[in-house]
């Protein structure tokens, strides 16, 4: 199973195995990773699963759709490497992905 690393804003790193086909958000929820709220359950309606993707992964993951970028406008402290983790689907291609969660989600 692909491994995904979640780093919180204090630098604590947690690496977990996430089933292929699940989203990076779902992986976090299943493993009780703090810092990802996912209030809307993955329907791209709330921006509370916002993460910063480690720079080197940015060109390896599919680009954000317009609706996702629109939603990121609403997120807490958006940056250039901001993504909604509900839109990042786990596959062998992103095995090893590292994301950092913001200080808070709302």
């Amino acid at each position: 199973m692909p491994k995904i690393t979640y780093i919180d804003n204090e630098g604590t790193s947690r690496t977990v195995e996430v089933e292929k086909g699940l989203s990076v958000m779902e992986g976090a929820i299943q493993h009780n990773i703090p810092g990802i709220d996912a209030d809307c359950g993955g329907s791209m309606a709330c921006a509370t699963c916002h993460v910063y993707v480690e720079e080197k992964w940015l060109d390896k993951i599919p680009q954000a759709e317009e609706a996702e970028v629109d939603m990121i406008d609403m997120s807490f402290e958006p940056k250039k490497n901001s993504r909604l983790s509900c839109q990042l689907i786990v596959s062998d291609e992103i095995d090893g992905l590292v994301v950092t969660t913001p200080e808070k989600q709302s």
Partner: protein, 337 residues
């Protein structure tokens, strides 16, 4: 004191359908919502976006769905209490007492919480100094545009609210529109008008940049913004208007002594009752094994909860399962002959 059979908290699609399921069983409901209108997330988050998974409705928008539900419950002449948040729930023997932020008091044997993910609040600017200006020179909505006449107004956001107010206030104020990226997501005709005004020098657009600090003692004097290339700029500002959408806060619900699982209320999937007799939770706010956050699941939950509500509201009557197609009583309640 407003007495009824069921107090419904939340006027989203699931709360509205609960009115229907209770209504056909002859039960009266009072609906309370923190927003100014019915529809919940459907209206606040995606009024124009299509929904494709409502049974027998191949496609409809959040707004259409809300309007159809309101149409469907018209026969029950339900009272809605908008712009009110439920603050307190207390027990009075077999009944529940509810008190709202407007100090309205309700009493009923049943409460159905159909509160989605809580109540909507504006997403606030996260800078520490923002708080002391809030409501004085920094606002998350416009109550009266006259307040901004002749002022330097810095507007943040890239959606319709930001664009609409930038356009409107540019007629009476000196407006700077600030957004974190070059693309705006508001209506294209508003955007082209704004770009035209910007060319004519009647409005200023700053992108891609974000707010880094607010200066001022009692009132705001200027703000500092930072561009993507780390360049900073100071902008003379009297008022800040910030439109970063809404967030959902669970609010006082966590203080009601209900069994919770993270941000959700645990329920018995047979009747969607919580750990408190007569308090039910349906829709996105409830959780049970296999829960799906779908509108259609919420409808099912409303139907089952309404049966238990009937038993509590009419302890001396026997509940009879009936179909709307064949029941004379239900047809009468729906005003059909």
């Amino acid at each position: 004191m407003i007495k009824t059979d069921v107090i419904i908290i939340g006027a989203g699609p699931v709360g509205l359908f609960a009115v229907h399921q209770l209504g056909i069983k002859g039960l009266k409901a009072a609906v309370i919502d923190n927003l100014d209108k019915a529809g919940g997330q459907c209206i606040e988050l995606y009024p124009d976006k299509p929904i494709y998974d409502i049974p027998a409705v191949p496609e409809c928008t959040g707004e259409e769905l809300t309007n159809r539900l309101l149409e469907q419950i018209k026969p029950f002449k339900t009272n809605f209490y908008f712009n009110e948040r439920v603050n307190e729930i207390n027990q009075n023997k077999d009944n529940w007492l509810v008190q709202t932020s407007k100090n309205n008091k309700f009493e009923a044997p049943n409460i159905i919480i159909a509160g989605g993910v809580g109540s909507f609040e504006p997403r606030r600017i996260t800078l520490k100094e923002a708080e002391k200006f809030e409501g004085k020179s920094l606002f998350y909505s416009v109550k009266s545009k006259e307040e901004f006449k002749g002022k330097n107004v810095s507007i943040f956001g890239g959606g319709d609210s930001a664009l609409d107010w930038a356009l409107e206030l540019s007629k009476i104020s000196k407006v700077t529109l600030i957004h974190r990226r070059n693309e705006f997501r508001g209506a294209s005709h508003t955007l082209s008008e704004i770009k035209k005004l910007s060319k004519e020098g009647k409005l200023s657009i700053k992108t891609p940049c974000q707010l880094v600090s607010i200066e001022g003692n009692k009132d705001i004097s200027e703000i500092k913004i930072k561009y993507d290339d780390d360049k900073t700029e100071k902008i003379k500002t009297d008022n800040i208007l910030s439109f970063f959408g809404l967030i959902m806060k669970l609010g006082p619900i966590i203080e009601w002594g209900l069994g919770m699982d993270k941000k959700h209320i645990s329920v018995n999937p047979n009747n969607f009752e919580t750990n408190k007799k007569g308090i039910f939770a349906i829709g996105d706010i409830c959780t049970y094994p296999g829960k799906l956050k779908l509108i259609l699941s919420g409808f099912h939950e409303a139907a089952l909860a309404s049966v238990e509500c009937f038993k509590r509201a009419r302890p001396n009557e026997k509940y009879r399962f009936e179909f709307t197609t064949s029941s004379k009583t239900i047809k009468e309640r729906l005003g059909k002959k």
